[in-house]
Amino acid sequence: MSGPGARTAAAFARAADEQRAALVGYLPAGFPDVEGGIEAIKVLVDAGCDVIEVGLPYSDPVMDGPTIQAAAQQALDRGVRVSDVLRTVEAVAATGTPTVVMTYWNPIERYGVARFAADLDAAGGAGLITPDITPDSRTEWPVAADAHDLDKVFLVAPSSTDARIAMTTQACRGFVYATAVMGVTGARATTSELAGPLVKRTKAVTDLPVAVGLGVSNGGQAAEVASYADGVIVGSAFVRALLDHADDRVAGLRALAALTADLADGVRRA
């Protein structure tokens, strides 16, 4: 295994130095298959993503819309395992790009929280984004993460009270994930008017970078979000690009590269 990898803070700091937002790209591991997934994520890296989120496919993804559900289901149907997710992390982190795992909670609990933290660290992973737990869910994750200095990325939402935003950001390391809409993942035609105020409320209580996710699908939207956030998170749009070219992998990867370039341009335009 490759040993400690880059943490996300460095990537956000570099973007800030360049007076732009960081581009955070998500794809699930094992989609369309394990090797194909690694190849696709490397395209994201080469075309301009600053941070990578590797999704751990799960049977009951309550925060995901139809696009990411379809990709995760396809990965599960082909037998993707947690060990494949770690293998994907290792391959991606080897590029030097900070790589976090985005995962629902039960697979981590089942794997063993301390064991997962150790194996993630050994694979060069930067940390976890945990969409279906909160810092007050009484999990072992904060302690396990601290033992390896891993990033702990919890979510804040438009419905979060100021007190909960303070509690949540206090528990984060690396960056804070602001969900721009009240809803599930999925590309949206317009960006949300809820995101700006949420980022403002979040930045009022933390110095951590705040990245905005849920719905961004093109450079124009990325530029808009980048005008007030430290990072722009894109997932469903990348998955969609691959799903739309399911019969032609080369064309899918080309579409992925073009979309990434457009988004990378967007985060520099603000």
């Binding site: 419905s159 909960r164 009240m182």
Partner: protein
């Protein structure tokens, strides 16, 4: 809906020992907190309780009867068996108590729309009924496998004015319907209440649903005392998510001489892997917002459950049952499809009562206990629902009408 706080209750954060809690997206925490405050306020409000009791009495046929199953008991030659007749409630099951409670709370909170998940359609029909009663908009999520299996209940819901949305994702069954209802709720939480169908899910649902169903046991305890002058030796109920069981058990938890028995769906037999016995055949994990016993593979992916009874066909269980099992206060045992169907037929022939297949699991388990106890023993069984909805299954199983 009365009784002292019990050591079996959850703490402030919804933890029953090591089980329960709240494993949910931050976006829903505010709504769950709002619901917690509203539910606690309602429980402390005499006017709310009085209105709930009145609606149950005048609209739902509650308190349900306690029935002394003399011929059944004689046939078995064992203990005396008493049946709590929740099958006689409006819409045919204990579920009406839960939905009327939650819908009344929805009105109190000023929300105008309810959503629900349903497996076989019983909770969906009950939710559509409560929505009609209170004039609320209603959307029911139902796995597309189930909308085909349970077309009659889809028609009922639609006749009651509800919108039924088939869910194709995942295994297209109850657990996926819950996922889809949660996705709706994240986006509609301002004006929508989620009427959860069982005593599971994130805090406060397990405790709140228990509060709305515990009348079953409160009534039964008084009825048994009046009829027999003593407490039963055993109280039995079937356990899917656990709402009828916790509703029955709660009144007896502090009666330490009363054995608490929950019967889970053993399907083809726990040893075959095709079952829904999450306590007997699963292990600890997190599903749908709570830590509890679940069916999962080595990677923590949910495994599909199997049972002849759609209402028990769920790969999780309410966290209070997990706690009662772990602490030893409750015993949870599997009952196979065959045992349940045999019990269903025996009740029909000895007493002229066709019960739900879910309830038949409780009966089958109780028969064994009644035989062990022998004459002089007293067994209370929750007959959680009636069997009309299950006639197609019965036709196939018994080869009826051929």
């Amino acid at each position: 809906m009365s009784g002292p706080a019990s050591v079996w209750n959850a703490d402030e954060q919804g933890w029953f020992g090591e089980f329960g809690g709240r494993f949910m997206p931050e976006a829903l925490v505010a709504a769950l907190d709002e619901l917690t405050v509203a539910w606690q306020g309602a429980m402390a409000d005499q006017a709310f309780r009085a209105e709930f009791d009145t609606i149950l009495r005048e609209y739902a046929g509650v308190p349900s009867l306690l029935y002394d199953a003399v011929r059944l008991s004689e046939h078995l030659g064992g203990a005396r068996i008493l049946l709590k007749r929740e099958d006689l409630n409006h819409t045919g099951a204990h579920k009406i108590r839960n939905v009327l409670g939650q819908a009344l709370l929805t009105r109190r909170m000023g929300k105008t729309r309810v959503i629900a998940e349903t497996g076989a359609g019983q909770h969906g029909v009950a939710s559509a009924t409560a929505a009609a009663y209170f004039g609320l908009e209603c959307t029911v999520y139902m796995g597309s496998v189930d909308t085909k299996r349970q077309a009659l209940n889809v028609a009922r819901m639609e006749l009651l004015g509800a919108k039924v949305v088939p869910v194709d994702s995942g295994s297209a069954t109850l657990k996926d319907a819950i996922n889809e209802a949660l996705r709706d709720w994240v986006a509609s939480v301002d004006y929508t209440a989620y009427l959860f169908g069982t005593a599971a899910g994130p805090h406060p649902f397990p405790s709140m649903v228990r509060d709305f169903t515990r009348g079953i046991g409160d009534e039964a305890r008084a009825q048994v005392l009046e009829l027999t002058g003593r407490l039963p030796d055993v109280v039995a109920a079937c356990v899917g998510g656990g709402s009828n069981a916790i509703g029955m058990f709660t009144a007896f938890l502090d009666d330490l001489d009363v054995r608490i028995l929950g019967f889970e769906a053993g399907g083809d037999g726990v040893e075959t892997g095709r079952h829904a016995a999450t306590i007997a055949g699963g292990d600890s994990g997190v599903l749908h917002g709570a830590r509890t016993f679940i069916l999962q593979d080595d990677d923590g992916q949910t495994i599909e459950s199997h049972s002849i009874s759609a209402g028990l066909d769920y790969p999780g269980v309410g966290p209070q049952h997990a706690h009662l099992a772990k602490s030893g206060r409750g015993e949870y045992l599997p009952v196979t499809d065959r045992q349940a169907m045999d019990a269903l037929a025996l009740l029909a022939r000895t007493e002229g009562i066709i019960c739900a297949i879910e309830s038949a699991h409780a009966l089958a388990g109780a028969f064994d206990v009644a035989r062990d106890l022998g004459p002089g023993g007293l067994v209370l069984v929750n007959l959680s629902g009636r069997g009309d909805k299950d006639m197609e299954t019965a036709i196939d199983w018994f080869g009826l009408g051929r």
